[in-house]
Amino acid sequence: MLELRSVYYRYPGYARQVLLDVNLRLDDGQIVGLVGPNEAGKSTLCLVASGLAPASVGGVLGGEVLVDGTVMAGLPTHELATRVGIVFQNPNTQRSGVSGTVFEEIALGPVNLGLPVGETVERTRWAMATLRIEALADRNPMRLSGGQAQLVAIASILAMRPRHLVLDEPTAQLDPEGSRLVGDALRALAGTGTALLIAEHKVDLLDTICDRLIVIDAGRIVLDDRAPAAFESPVLEAAGVEAPSRIRLGRALAARGITIPEGALA
């Protein structure tokens, strides 16, 4: 379980608080979606929830972030890294730069966890198979397309099987099938008890995988509710976030008095 208790945060050198009184709980085995307009604080919340801010990024944190009941601020970086994983928006931020092949890049996480060779290889193969990137195994990680690099970044984290995982727009550069595979993989990970927080603009994807939805606007959480009901909330539109296609289309048709067979929008 990952918990934020009345968290405030500001970046080093800035007076402005980017997160304001954020309370949030990620339960084991649950996927929580995080949406909000540009610059609402989604990426910052990801950095704080994963412990990278303030530990690595600097800045000033108010309130508490707890991982399985332990205050994060007291944990050494190497221990924190084994408890909470993060996938960044830009895969280039994540690439280790030391691996010659995609296989080595993905195996790096399990190796750093000190896992035996057999398990490292097994997990690496599993992560690649899950995202169907086996064909990239021998490729140079520096010479991938944007979407391929993103899949490799996600596979690298999957192979570590973190208990808690924070993802900042993990599918931004992926083709529709790739997005779906990532969604399936995250659902499977949640099935093993991992708690996940996913910041995404693709509400249709969140609509299919989330247990709960959080809306953040100007640094504050303005909605925290169970899915799928949360996707119907007027709070989304007020914050400049679109409802999923099925809901938007349903409303557009209803406004014109058109009824269509149930399930046609699912």
């Binding site: 990426s43 010479r143 550069q173 400049g240 289309l249 048709l253 269509i260 046609a264």
Partner: protein
């Protein structure tokens, strides 16, 4: 299937690829025999799975990549005989990753860089920069450091830098990545304004709804080849779905609903609502 009927596709060809092949060092055959013609004023979206060669294809248009085989003609002239700086006056490319593009300490300086290289000076340069910042909604951030902006606004800044160059052809590589609904609407407006000004707009995108709503013509790529080329109604029609699936794509939600209701190819939500309204 060819260019969209009734769209602004009857201008002279601005981009022409003939048997274009690109093999990267190491042997990856990213572009594998592409024949493609884009006419002045067209709005073209290139879609296809990750690694299908979309970005590699467009990088030939401003000379950042050179063909392994085949020919690239820009405004009718062989690109091989022109330098990157010359080609960049015709084709402006917004990169997928804005941080590959941004380097200046002020947004205004960043946006002015490409325009200055394109030969603009004095009042014309100022006007181009102001216009581009306004188009992407960053007028207020003109004197800010680009790295104080979040990712979504850095993407818009990179777009402004390309707009200010005033190139006849504008290429947007994944422009909607990281944008909220308002950001996507802003980009759609930018594309419409460019088209109204007679400029050619090409995008690479995985956002099928954005593609269907904003572009006249859709080119589908898979493993370095062009698989489909037509209007969004043609490319997203049910008959084409097996081809789309073969390159990891899915039709927009409106297409799927339209097919389920058997009302024909409705790639946009407005097309779907229109056809259903006509029936009731």
């Amino acid at each position: 299937m060819s260019g969209a009927p009734g769209s602004a596709g009857d201008g002279p060809p601005v981009i022409r690829c003939e048997g274009l092949v690109h093999v990267y060092p190491g042997g990856v055959r990213a572009v594998d025999g592409v024949d493609l013609e884009i006419r002045a004023g067209e709005r073209v979206a290139i879609i296809g799975q990750n690694g299908s060669g979309k970005t590699s294809l467009v990088l030939h248009w401003n000379g950042l990549l050179r063909p392994t085989e085949g020919l690239v003609l820009i405004d009718g002239a062989d690109a091989a005989e022109r330098r990157v700086a010359q080609l960049a006056r015709t084709v402006g490319i917004e990169f997928q990753d804005p941080d590959r593009q941004i380097f200046a300490g002020r947004c205004r300086t960043e946006v002015a860089f490409g325009a200055r290289n394109a030969g603009l000076r004095g009042g014309a340069l100022e006007a181009a920069v102001d216009g581009a910042l306004e188009a992407v909604g960053l007028t207020d951030a003109a004197d800010t450091n680009p790295y104080d902006l979040g990712y979504s606004r850095r993407k818009l800044l990179a777009l402004a830098g390309i707009l200010a160059m005033g190139t006849p052809v504008v290429v947007l590589d994944e422009p909607t990545t990281g944008q909220d609904a308002r950001g996507v609407a802003r980009i759609q407006q930018v594309v419409a304004d460019l088209a109204d000004a007679g400029r050619t707009v090409v995008t690479i995108s995985h956002d099928m709804r954005f593609v269907a709503e904003t572009f006249d013509r859709v080119v589908v790529m898979g493993t370095g080849k062009v698989l489909l080329d037509g209007t969004s109604a043609q490319v997203f029609a049910e008959a084409a779905w097996p081809t789309l699936h073969s390159t990891f794509l899915e039709p927009p939600v409106a297409s799927r609903v339209g097919a389920r209701l058997r009302v024909g190819s409705t790639p946009t939500e407005s097309a779907l609502v229109d056809v259903l309204t006509g029936r009731t």
